[in-house]
């Protein structure tokens, strides 16, 4: 069927004689008044008008982040259409359109900073909580594309991709210090400096420290026994994070780097550890550095070259009891580097062509596990290898109001025996200035990571024979925009995911054994969104996502961790003649099936945030109340004692935060 459509489109294509029509972004229809209100966005890799892009893009801006007071990337993503998050009091997890795969550190979502992949090379983890690289105050935009991304993006864009665009130094314009304090003895300090100099050099440097004592006493009924402190984990939710980020942009060159070091105590006694033992923790450190060169080769062709070096180190300490208390040390260390070349050109009339080549060398992929005292060795596995990705995409203006987008992506991955070839096609029809229809199809893959391939423990078995997961995504989108700024989006989607890597679940024990390609999920659903932004700063946005996920491998009508309904409503209102601004966030997430065949209750969360930058020059104050109704809403626990004993985990109740930020010229 798809082939027929393709042939048809190609025939239509051939019958058109090209006439000059550049597909560059054109805002010349706007009046000066309108232009003064256009938000200038950094050229991202997406680099085209959203309504012409072969994807369904949603965006949050720095002003949204400020208005709603999101403290982590996870909280911001939880505000976006079709996304939801979970947390097991160790890491944060992201669900996309009804799919959140347990046993996954967001390896199926591509997370990027300014187009640079952040998923590391051990668990393919993409981190979104305090373990994420950036302070939210450094984020200019968050872009989300659901489905298998686009042919331009790499292999982790399986359920979707997230690109974080960083602020320019110019946006900070001076030296900035910020301090915040909140519930559970949570504090954060940050110092930043940003400036654009007369010679065009833009610099941004920032460093921050975060600390939280966490809830002093967390109760877990599964451990309610005098031998395990009656189920109370005391001072076990402590978290710390340090971050550094810097960027220098001079003419066509951009040099950027970041580092995050995050410590989290684990209160859930996961992986069979001793309950309420304060030495149970994980420490995640990640860094990246890259140098980009952007050059307009001619008026119609631009070139981007990039080189990068990245690393990730994790250590975990897991005290357990085997006649005596023994501390297990789990470690992973990765280093990878590579480069990319991308050419974008409109030299051929009515074509916007993107060609790219990406190379990554996984220099180190080490997994280590041993007991400390007495020393018992379990695992020291090493891997390395090459990844080569070649992609091409052509957005062809078939008619003035019709674009056909065709992309092809070719991947060599050292974890896979076979080469991967994945197409992407899209048809974008703009019959009216206000209205866009999109039909999109793409396929993608995800290679097993070294953890899924090589990890060995009491309950994990390596599997040298596992291979790539596959997804096919189909999507239909309608976008309508009125002249006064009302925006309506409706989406229908169908995702078919096969050969998903799963572990066997032993009833009463949990996930065990090797990762084998046995999973098969199908998701069908719809996304609806209405958004209106006013010049005075008022904003209204509501979205609803319905998804029905079926577990085809188990002939089951429901899938784990999948809420059937998600509803979000965001409203911001300027107060007292723009003296302050109030942001109201409402999130409803439906009940979710847990891995132990129970259910986590549906929950509704109300967050309020009040900001003002009018109290004194350079001072920005924000006061937030999170989870105002004090509901200890339920997130998923684990599969059993092999990972997390608890079926569900209750989250923190109401929290407050006050933040002061001072900027000097």
């Amino acid at each position: 069927m798809l082939r027929l459509i393709l042939i048809g489109i190609l025939l239509v294509l051939n019958s058109f004689v090209a006439a000059s029509n550049s597909s560059a972004e054109d805002l010349t229809d706007l009046s000066i008044e309108e232009l003064l209100n256009v938000e200038v966005i950094s050229a991202s890799r997406l680099g085209q008008k959203p309504n012409q892009a072969p994807s369904s893009l949603s965006v949050l801006t720095a002003s949204d982040i400020r208005t709603f007071g999101w403290r982590t990337l996870a909280e911001a993503l939880n505000a976006m259409r079709g996304l939801y998050t979970s947390n097991d009091r160790n890491y944060s997890y992201l669900g996309v359109r009804g799919i959140m795969h347990p046993n996954d550190y967001n390896s199926r979502v591509l997370i990027m900073i300014d187009g640079q992949r952040m998923n590391e090379n051990l668990y393919d983890g993409g981190y979104i909580g305090q373990e994420f690289m950036l302070d939210m105050e450094l984020v200019e935009r968050i872009e989300f594309i659901p489905g298998s991304g686009s042919s331009i993006y790499g292999a982790n864009a399986f359920f979707g991709l997230i690109n974080i665009v960083t602020k320019k130094g110019q946006a900070i314009n001076g030296a900035q210090i910020a301090g915040e304090y909140g519930t559970f003895d949570t504090y954060k300090g940050r110092a930043s400096y940003g400036k654009k100099f007369d010679n065009g050099t833009d610099v941004l440097f920032s460093a921050s420290h975060y600390g939280s004592a966490g809830d002093e006493n967390l109760y877990f009924k599964e451990f309610d026994d005098p031998a395990t402190n009656n189920g109370i984990a005391h001072d076990m939710d402590t978290e710390r994070a340090d971050r550094i980020f810097g960027r220098i942009q001079y003419e066509e060159f951009t040099l950027m780097g970041g580092f995050v070091d995050r410590y989290k105590r684990i209160p859930t006694a996961s992986f069979g550890t001793i309950f309420n033992d304060s030495e149970t923790y994980t420490n995640d450190r990640q860094f990246f550095g890259n140098l980009k060169y952007n050059k307009a080769l001619s008026a119609k062709t631009s070139l981007q070259l990039k080189g990068f070096y990245q690393g990730y180190d994790y250590t975990g300490r897991y005290p357990y009891f085997d006649e005596t208390r023994i501390v297990n040390h789990d470690e992973a260390s990765g280093r990878w580097w590579g480069g990319e070349a991308q050419v974008t050109s409109t030299v051929f009339d009515r074509h916007r062509l993107i060609l790219g080549l990406e190379y990554q060398y996984d220099q180190r992929q080490r997994l280590l596990n041993h007991d400390i005292n007495p020393y018992t060795f379990y695992l020291d596995s090493h891997s390395n290898g090459h990844r080569v990705e070649l992609y091409a995409q052509d957005d062809i203006q078939i008619l003035d109001d019709l674009i056909f987008s065709a992309g092809l992506r070719f991947d060599y991955h050292h974890m896979l025996k076979k080469l991967q070839l994945n197409p992407r096609v899209g048809l974008i029809w703009n019959p009216l200035d206000s209205t866009t229809f999109k039909l999109l199809y793409s396929s993608s893959f995800r290679a097993p990571n070294v953890w899924e391939r090589d990890y060995f423990s009491f309950v994990n078995t390596p599997n040298p024979d596992n291979y790539e997961e596959r997804i096919k995504s189909y999507e239909g989108v309608v976008e309508w925009q009125s002249t006064n700024g009302l925006k309506l989006t409706a989406d229908v989607f169908y995702n078919d995911m096969t050969k998903l890597l799963e572990q066997t679940i032993d009833p009463g024990l949990g996930a065990a054994g090797p990762f084998i390609n046995s999973g098969h999920l199908r998701a069908i659903g719809t996304d609806l969104e209405i958004e209106q932004r006013w010049n005075n700063g008022r904003m209204f946005k509501a979205s609803y996502t319905y998804s029905r996920v079926t577990n085809e491998a188990e002939n089951s009508n429901s899938a784990q961790a999948s809420p059937q309904n998600i509803f979000k409503l965001h409203y911001a209102e300027p107060l007292f003649n723009n003296f302050a601004k109030l942001g109201i966030e409402n999130v409803f997430v439906d009940q979710r099936l847990t891995p132990q065949n129970g259910s986590a209750d549906a929950y509704y969360q109300l967050n309020l945030n009040l900001t003002s930058d009018q109290i004194a020059p350079g001072l920005d104050v924000s006061v937030g109340a999170y989870n105002l109704f004090d509901s200890h809403y339920q997130m998923l626990g684990g599969t059993g004692p092999n990972d997390i004993t608890q079926n569900i985990l209750r989250m923190n109740g109401r929290e407050f935060r006050i933040k002061l930020q001072l900027t000097f010229d």
Binding site: E25, L35, L36, N37
Partner: protein
């Protein structure tokens, strides 16, 4: 959960009824190059050149090296204003800018030197360099939060016989004028 749908429905209905969605201009977003290009296009509409140079058959819009306007600028190649096409000349060296109506000077260039060469000619100089109108430039593009605004040096424009419409002056963030 149809309740959610019903709630959503009702909400939308209420919104539409109260007329909350009517009226104002909204804020959209665009790439920096596209926004700058659209400003250049609009400036052409609201500026009159002295008779001596206004008889030419096209508006000559020039840019220096490193204009960073990419493909965006080329959308103007197909446009005209009052039936007069726009001729685009890019990467033009300082000495060859004297036949242009409008010159966009990249922030990376030595704006002061270029303006100095052109300051007695009826040429609208535009740049996104900080402090541009203090260096005798005519229009400076300035960032205001994450939007773009502009400043006008009316004294300099008047001194070379360039007439800037009141409409444009009204929207400028700052107008340098001794009157």
């Amino acid at each position: 959960m149809p309740i959610i749908l019903r709630l959503l429905n009702r909400f939308l209905l209420v919104l539409l009824c109260t007329g909350m969605l009517a009226g104002q201009v909204h804020a959209e977003s665009g790439g920096e190059a596209a926004v700058k290009t659209a400003f250049l296009y609009n400036f052409l509409k609201f500026i009159d050149w002295p008779d001596a140079v206004s008889h030419q058959d096209a508006y000559h819009l020039c840019t220096t090296n490193n204009d960073q306007l990419g493909d965006s600028l080329m959308v103007l190649a197909n446009k005209s204003i009052n039936n007069k096409p726009i001729a685009i000349h890019r990467d033009i060296a300082g000495k060859d800018l004297k036949t242009c109506h409008m010159v966009f000077i990249a922030a990376s260039e030595n704006a002061a030197a270029i303006v100095n060469d052109l300051k007695n000619l009826p040429i609208v100089t535009i740049s996104d360099k900080a402090g541009f109108i203090q260096q005798n430039g005519i229009i400076g593009l300035v960032p205001i939060d994450n939007r773009l605004g502009f400043e006008i040096n009316l004294d300099q424009a008047n001194s070379v016989g360039i007439h800037i419409h009141a409409q444009l002056l009204k929207l400028a963030k700052y107008v340098k004028s001794t009157h």
